[in-house]
């Protein structure tokens, strides 16, 4: 048997029982890799459950800097009896199977192509740890200590991390550090020269941070000037509001200890959106955060915001649908539901962040865009981005930056106005009209906001021409939005290339890696990462300048492909869907294989949707 022998390039998976305290031990390991300066991408694959069901934590270590999922795993810490067999069978050939040997493996564990690492974790705990309550928690720390030896890690990184984590409660640090040492000692006595995977200090990370997208999003709302948030708890968006709440308690207190933010946990998502809309109507920057089922409930109010032109921000941390779907698994499956949310002719501005830094930037930017365009803006994050830690460049803020509150008339502006004011009068010919906040002026600027048809002066109307003028102006406003969208990221690998790839959000890392893998095999693709909707002109140009374009995304139906075809009036056969529907983050290998397979067996024009990764 040939053992896998690699430095800083492998995938390690932890198989645990949910609620057993494994998360903090596994995080400790991932953070240690990060602090060694090695690019790392941890993915928590967890159940919709508080205690008892299987949960996995996958850590990809990659000196080359690929941060998407690779596919497969080379080392498994198998400490969950429920999934032991599955975890055993899924291990890559030449890999390492680390398990709690307090209980022996049964006879059907017969693989000859892997290395077994037997560690009696439960026995060690029972023998060495007096407090039975601490045993299950410290058992996890013990295997991290063992990993430090097996992977030849700098041990001080782990002990320093523990010390930092418990800096306010040093008493708790002590048993953790002891557990780390117990693990390392046992491993050094029993597993010399067993594992040929190793972690070496590197310089690939300079100035980076390791942060989850939801925290960065909450920070974006803080910096973007949000003051009102209505919300309803739903996985995976809850931690956006928790972060916003935490940061406003730290950085948004007035001199008397009162808060410069109002955060209301509503009775449901209808109310959450109603709160954001009401606050935005009244001149505050307001938002809500939710996931698929919440988006469904919010659509009626999104229609009101669209038609009555109220700037409101919605953070959609997407999860696997439809219906309740897989609430703790990731997907990019709300693209169409959000682009056209609500009945009647509605269209919404979407932003697609791909990493925590963009979560921060796009969330902050979304408030400017919403105010400028007087329309809802939806930030399309997802569970993978929102809840997993990601290596990211640090966030930055230009202190000279001023909020763009858009076209708002204050008292002085109303007083100096010579022409007639109408709330929906488009005097600049960009589809955007001038609004006023309630309470501004004793005589001027008052109007009645309504979701029923209205004329330029906000009066109710069923006049066909007035209705048409309003609907056409809203279309024109969407054209104005097009120019304000963030630029697409375009990567040209072959100037006269005929093949292109389009992707967005959390598909980015895996897609970029797949494009490199394909490049090594002589298949050269140019790529474009969509960052906003409505699509900027370069998206159409990019697609038009290639013969065939793969649209890579994480949903069944190729929703972005549909949106591109519909909005850019493209020939459907030109766009080929590479769709990943597993509910786990997309990986490079399956993209590569799908594209290869499609190029060998070229699809006929009438069945353009061939790929399924």
């Amino acid at each position: 048997m040939k053992k896998l022998n690699r430095i800083n390039d492998f995938v390690i998976r932890f198989a645990n029982v949910n609620g057993s305290g494994s998360a903090s031990a596994n995080n400790l390991f991932a953070k240690a890799v990060f602090r060694l300066g090695v690019p790392v991408s941890p993915k928590n694959i967890f159940p919709s459950n508080i205690q008892g069901l299987p949960t996995w934590y996958e850590v990809r270590v990659c000196e080359k800097g690929y941060l998407g999922r690779r596919g497969g795993y080379d080392f498994i810490v198998a400490v969950n009896g429920q999934t032991l067999k599955k975890d055993y069978e899924g291990l890559e050939s030449g890999g390492y199977f680390f398990y709690d040997s307090t209980k022996s493996l049964t006879e059907d564990y017969t693989r000859k192509d892997i290395t077994l690492i037997r560690m009696p974790l439960t026995d060690i705990c029972n023998r060495e740890i007096d407090n039975p309550k601490l045993r299950p928690l410290l058992k996890n720390i013990i295997y991290v200590g063992a990993l430090a030896y097996l992977l030849d890690m700098d041990f001080s990184i782990l002990t320093d991390s523990i010390a930092k984590q418990f800096s306010k409660k040093p008493k708790l640090a002590e048993p953790n550090i002891r557990a780390l040492k117990l693990g390392r000692e046992y491993a050094s006595e029993h597993f010399a020269h067993t594992c040929e995977l190793s972690l070496k200090r590197s310089d690939k990370l300079a100035g980076h941070i390791l942060i989850d997208g939801n925290t960065a999003t909450g920070l974006g709302a803080l910096y973007g000037g949000a003051t009102v948030a209505g919300w309803y708890p739903i996985t995976p968006s809850t931690s956006v509001i928790e972060a916003f709440d935490k940061f406003t308690r730290q950085y948004r207190m007035d001199e008397s200890g009162k808060r410069k933010a109002a955060i209301i946990q509503a009775e449901d998502e209808l109310s959450a959106m109603g709160i954001a809309l009401g606050a935005a109507w009244n001149g505050a920057r307001a938002f809500t955060a939710t996931s698929g089922p919440g988006v469904s409930l919010m659509t009626e109010l999104l229609g009101l915001a669209y038609f009555s032109e109220i700037p409101v921000v919605l953070i959609n941390v997407q999860r696997a649908g439809p219906s309740t779907g897989m609430p703790t698994r990731t997907q990019q499956s709300d693209v169409l539901a959000c682009a056209y949310a609500s009945h009647g002719d509605t269209k919404h501005v979407l932003l697609f962040p791909c990493d925590p830094k963009e979560c921060f930037e796009m969330t902050a930017e979304s408030f400017d865009l919403a105010d400028r365009l007087q329309t809802p803006v939806i930030v399309m994050s997802d569970l993978d981005l929102g809840m997993n830690d990601h290596v990211s460049m640090p966030m930055e803020w230009d202190d000279a930056r001023r909020y763009d509150r858009g076209k708002v008339l204050d008292r002085a502006a109303l007083d100096s106005m010579v022409r007639d004011w109408g709330r929906y009068l488009d005097s600049d010919n960009d589809g955007i009209c001038y609004r006023t906040y309630p309470g501004t002026h004793p005589e001027k600027g008052a109007y009645f906001t309504r979701g029923s048809s209205h004329d330029e002066y906000a009066a109710y109307t069923e006049d066909t021409d007035a209705y048409k003028r309003c609907m056409e102006r809203l279309s024109q406003k969407f054209e104005t939005a097009r120019d304000l969208m963030p630029a697409s990221h375009i990567q040209i690998n072959a100037n006269a290339g005929t093949l292109g790839a389009v992707f967005y959000g959390t598909t980015t890392n895996a897609a970029n890696e797949a494009i490199e893998q394909l490049g090594e095999k002589g298949i050269v693709l140019n790529s474009l990462r969509v960052r906003g909707f409505p699509f900027k002109d370069e998206v159409r140009k990019f697609i038009n300048s290639h013969d065939q374009v793969f649209v890579i995304e994480q949903n069944r139906d190729g929703q972005m492909r549909t949106l591109l075809i519909t909005e850019l009036d493209l020939l459907p056969s030109k766009l080929i869907s590479i769709a990943h529907v597993a509910g786990t983050p997309i990986d490079a290998l399956s993209i590569t294989r799908s594209i290869e397979a499609l190029l060998i067996d070229k699809p006929k024009p009438e069945t353009p949707k061939g790929g399924a990764a």
């Binding site: 980076h208 941070i209 942060i211 920070l219 803080l222 910096y223 000037g225 003051t227 209505g230 940061f247 950085y251 948004r252 007035d254 009162k258 808060r259 410069k260 109002a262 209301i264 509503a266 449901d268 209808l270 109310s271 959450a272 959106m273 109603g274 709160i275 009401g278 606050a279 935005a280 109507w281 009244n282 001149g283 505050a284 307001a286 009626e300 109010l301 009101l304 640090p394 966030m395 930055e396 803020w397 230009d398 930056r401 001023r402 006023t436 906040y437 309630p438 309470g439 501004t440 004793p442 005589e443 008052a446 109007y447 009645f448 906001t449 309504r450 979701g451 004329d455 002066y457 009066a459």
Partner: protein, 350 residues
């Protein structure tokens, strides 16, 4: 509906303390049916705001969907207003109030908008104790869709359709008391003498104030067998203790006999003086209010007047401990911690 009235004002029209005439509180012409109870309530709102000398532009009007929810267009034409979607006015009002705590929020809803589609939002805005006046124009039916029974229609009551309603009625006043409202009153659109001071007291209360107004639908629900008709309401109205509303600026001069009145001082300094009668009860106690309402319900009576007052409750802003300045007036300087802080925050993620 968008027709504009003549701007001519008679020079001798009476003016309030701010120099406004009653006309300054009016809105567009109503498009509701002639004789609709809602128009009387609209007039009572205009009268109350005029008499209290409220600056018209410092009011925000909110409504849901339905006949009732059209009415904000017919009063306070100098105020901003918003017509939310059906049943969702409470959440929109919550957000609006969070953005600016300095305006007077008047919400207008109907029995369908509040007791059916908006029931969830209604009880939760009560729980939050949002500082607003919430008026229900309660006619026991869906007018705009031609007269279906609503959830406040009494069991056995018949509308023009002629079929007695087989379902139990929801009493919004009882619901509001149970869920913690600090001010609950019921009026009748046909009794302006009582309704105007009820609305004024509601405006003086800080926190959530419900004014449930029986408002007959002349087109679909004004039949002899309807308990929401004009004549039924007149015949079955049972007032709680009669009361005087004494605005904060007015000196309390009249004498009163010890034990015969109960004074409740509202947040803005105005006083509700309740004159005790055989029907009266302690309006400051939840159980007492609920008992009085239940007793009248059993007798088939409609209990009107001030049903519950509690001036000790914190409103939503107090509960959330928001800053004194309206949130919608805060700027980058107040809100954005700047790049140096961001660099420091980033350190925690290394």
């Amino acid at each position: 509906m968008s027709s504009r009235r003549p701007v001519f004002r008679h020079p001798n029209l009476p003016k309030n303390d701010l120099g406004y005439t009653r006309r300054d509180y009016e809105g567009l012409d109503s498009t509701l049916c002639a004789g609709c109870g809602h128009d009387s309530i609209t007039n009572a709102i205009i009268q109350a705001c005029f008499e209290l000398s409220i600056e018209p532009h410092r009011v925000a009007k909110l409504s849901g969907i339905g006949c009732s929810s059209k009415s904000p267009a017919y009063f306070l034409g100098k105020s901003h207003g918003i017509n939310a979607v059906h049943g969702r006015m409470p959440s929109v009002a919550t957000g609006a109030n969070m953005a600016n705590k300095d305006l007077l929020y008047i919400g207008v809803s109907g029995d369908g908008d509040t007791a059916s589609i908006g029931m969830g939002q209604f009880v939760h805005i009560v729980r939050r104790n949002l500082n607003m006046v919430y008026i229900v124009m309660n006619n026991g039916c869906y007018g705009l869709t031609k007269g279906q029974d609503s959830a406040t229609a009494d069991k056995g009551s018949s509308s023009r359709k002629g079929r007695p309603n087989p379902f139990e009625a929801i009493d919004l006043c009882e619901t509001a008391v149970q869920t913690g409202a600090g001010f609950v009153a019921r009026g009748f659109s046909g009794d302006k003498e009582q309704l105007v001071p009820l609305l004024k007291a509601a405006m003086g209360h800080r926190g959530f104030a419900l004014v449930d107004v029986i408002s007959p639908c002349v087109t679909f629900n004004n039949t002899p067998a309807s308990t929401k008709s004009y004549h039924w309401a007149r015949d079955h109205m049972e007032a709680t203790a009669t009361f005087d509303f004494i605005p904060s600026r007015q000196e309390i001069t009249t004498d009163y006999v010890e034990g015969a009145t109960q004074n409740v001082t509202l947040h803005d300094g105005s006083v509700i003086r309740l004159h005790k009668t055989d029907n009266s009860f302690d309006v400051t106690q939840r159980w007492s209010s609920l008992e009085a309402m239940e007793q009248c319900r059993e007798k088939g009576q409609i209990l009107t007047g001030i049903l519950h007052v509690n001036e000790t409750l914190k409103d939503t802003h107090d509960i959330l401990e928001t800053t004194d300045k309206p949130l919608n007036t805060l700027t980058e300087k107040d809100l954005c911690p700047g790049n140096q802080v961001l660099t420091k925050i980033s350190e925690n993620y290394r």
